[in-house]
């Protein structure tokens, strides 16, 4: 049996396990949270938000939303969703069963990690769809906002979202390892939330926090043009991917040797 077969079986199973779980719903709730807040804000303030003639209202709507909410929210979302997905396994005492099956431990670890990443990607997708729908909805209710007269510059916004996603990659590796390692929900959650908040605070000092993975999500947006480049690529992107790769491999090596009590 090749490694690919084990891996796909593991992926398939992780999807079954997500059925009817809060983790599944959290991806949807998180995605619609900010678009709903923006709808409410636009309803109350719609008179002041009517754009000048010829101005594309999507630009302000999308950019304020993506740049002012996502960078702060995403690290916390990752902490929460990773803990929740692993908690499905811990709650059912699943790890002892999985590790006693004739299946390589790597397929279990990386299968689960892939599902966590997929859940985060899907959330981004839902989020993007939710923003678009909320804009269209506002356009119908208040035609003077002009949402129906212009179309959004999709490529530009998707690029911002992808940058934010890649910048968050580093902490996925760390949080997943912690959540797998500790049965107790509070440890990865408390640790992650604490560092996510620290990350927001220290991002005020970009020169130092550029080495702190929990700040990457904010830095990827706040630094803008001032982002230091390595080989022409944003250094946050490179550090984030490196952090992800290192912590995923170390995490796996640690879990593989772990005594399952």
């Amino acid at each position: 049996m090749s490694a690919i077969l084990y891996y796909t079986a593991s992926l398939k199973n992780e999807l079954i396990k997500l059925k009817r779980t809060f983790a599944f719903w959290l991806t949807i709730i998180s995605a619609v949270l900010f678009p709903i807040l923006f709808i409410v804000a636009y309803i109350f303030e719609h008179e002041t938000l009517v754009p000048a003639a010829g101005i594309n209202p999507w630009e302000k709507f999308m950019v304020t939303q993506i740049e002012n909410s996502t960078p702060f929210f995403i690290p916390m979302f990752i902490v929460l969703i990773t803990s929740l997905i692993m908690q499905i396994e811990h709650k059912s005492l699943g790890i002892k069963h999985l590790f006693a099956l004739p299946v390589p431990k790597s397929s279990i670890y990386f299968g689960k990690l892939s599902i966590v990443i997929l859940a985060i990607m899907v959330t981004y997708l839902y989020y993007y769809i939710a923003i678009l729908l909320s804009g269209v909805l506002l356009g119908f209710v208040y035609p003077d906002l002009g949402f129906l007269n212009f179309s959004p510059e999709h490529l530009r916004y998707i690029k911002i979202l992808i940058t934010s996603f890649v910048a968050s990659f580093g902490i996925i590796g760390i949080q997943f390892w912690l959540s797998f390692r500790f049965k107790n929900f509070v440890i990865p959650l408390g640790f992650g939330m604490f560092l996510a908040i620290i990350g927001i605070i220290v991002s005020q000092a970009p020169q130092q926090s550029i080495y702190f993975p929990y700040s990457f999500s904010v830095l990827s947006v706040s630094l803008g043009e001032k982002m230091p480049l390595i080989f022409g690529i944003s250094s946050v992107t490179i550090f984030s991917i490196m952090c992800f790769l290192i912590t995923s491999v170390l995490g796996y090596l640690n879990i593989k040797k772990l005594n399952i009590k």
Binding site: A9, S92, N259
Partner: protein
């Protein structure tokens, strides 16, 4: 019967530095047997099972399954022939029985979907197959756990306290199921329990463990024989003190009074009749006579200091 399905040599393990949790354990489970692994709570039964399945890293010694050393290379091959139920079954409570079985079947691969319904039938859960496991009783969960371990038609099934928390009916069902599997398919079954009566009724072989050390290991039959010289029994009478003085004439050496019951040890069953006759001639009313379980005594004497 000589082939060993599980064999450990000088197995040592400790969770912490200052205490040995498993010490020089030599476990030998013959093929086709129902092996009862007996010991009080905290004696190292679950730890041993986890060591056999490679969930814990042993400090020293070897574990061999099906005559093959268990290590990184042989792990997948060996585990393919094993089905396990370790302590509380690992079940996804938000899913139904079919999904739970499907997950294990997917991991193991090459398991047909008809096999899922087969094992549900074996453990008598067909009617509850679409119910979420959350709504199951403890006994049903235990049975579903067993069904999962049966999926791959394993040659060895390891069950850790399978009757824990089951009601009497559930215990009897589990016992019948285990015996059936052994008889029909020749499956070797390794059961751990802290209840001697369980092991005695189900198993062909027994290993008794205390504080991580194997105290006794042989067939159940020879365990029984080793203690069959004397028969201990107790009698409930209306006037125990009078009864005691009457029985003194019989010249029985071991006789005592405990909680209002007369405790007697005799060499043959015929002597029990003698005791009853003597009591009845003196018009002492007898309410019950019961032979005490020798194995229980043996178990207690082995496991207590």
């Amino acid at each position: 019967m000589n082939q060993l399905v599980v064999e450990t040599k000088n197995l040592n393990f400790s969770y912490s530095k200052n205490k040995k949790d498993i010490e020089d354990l030599e476990l030998r489970v013959p093929k086709g047997s129902i092996y009862g692994f007996l010991g009080p709570n905290g004696s190292g039964k679950s730890t041993t099972i986890r060591l056999i399945l490679g969930l814990l890293k042993k400090n020293s010694g070897t574990v061999a399954l099906f005559g093959e050393l268990f290590n990184g290379q042989s792990r997948l091959k060996v585990l393919n022939k094993v089905g396990g139920l370790i302590e509380n079954p690992s079940l996804y409570e938000h899913l139904n029985a079919i999904d739970n079985l499907k997950i294990s079947a997917n991991y193991r691969q090459k398991i047909s979907s008809s096999r899922i319904f087969e094992v549900l039938e074996i453990v008598n859960l067909t009617n509850a197959k679409n119910k979420r496991v959350k709504e199951y009783s403890l006994g049903m969960k235990q049975r579903l756990g067993l069904a999962i371990s049966l999926l791959s038609n394993p040659e060895l099934i390891i069950l850790d306290e399978p009757t824990n928390g089951l009601d009497p009916k559930g215990i009897i069902e589990m016992r019948t199921l285990i015996k059936d599997l052994n008889k029909k398919f020749g499956t070797t079954i390794f059961i751990s329990s802290h209840l001697l009566s369980e092991i005695e009724k189900t198993c062909t072989h027994v290993g008794i463990i205390r504080n991580g050390k194997m105290l006794y290991q042989d067939t159940v039959a020879s365990l029984k024989e080793s203690k069959e010289t004397n028969i201990k029994f107790e009698i409930e009478v209306d006037k125990p003190i009078e009864g005691m003085s009457v029985l003194k004439n019989l010249k029985i050496e071991n006789i005592s009074l405990l909680d209002g019951f007369i405790q007697i040890e005799v060499k043959s069953k015929n002597e029990i009749t003698d005791v009853i006759d003597v009591l009845r001639t003196d018009r002492i009313n007898i309410y019950q006579v019961s032979i005490k379980n020798n194995l229980e005594e043996l178990f207690l004497s082995l496991t207590e200091n």
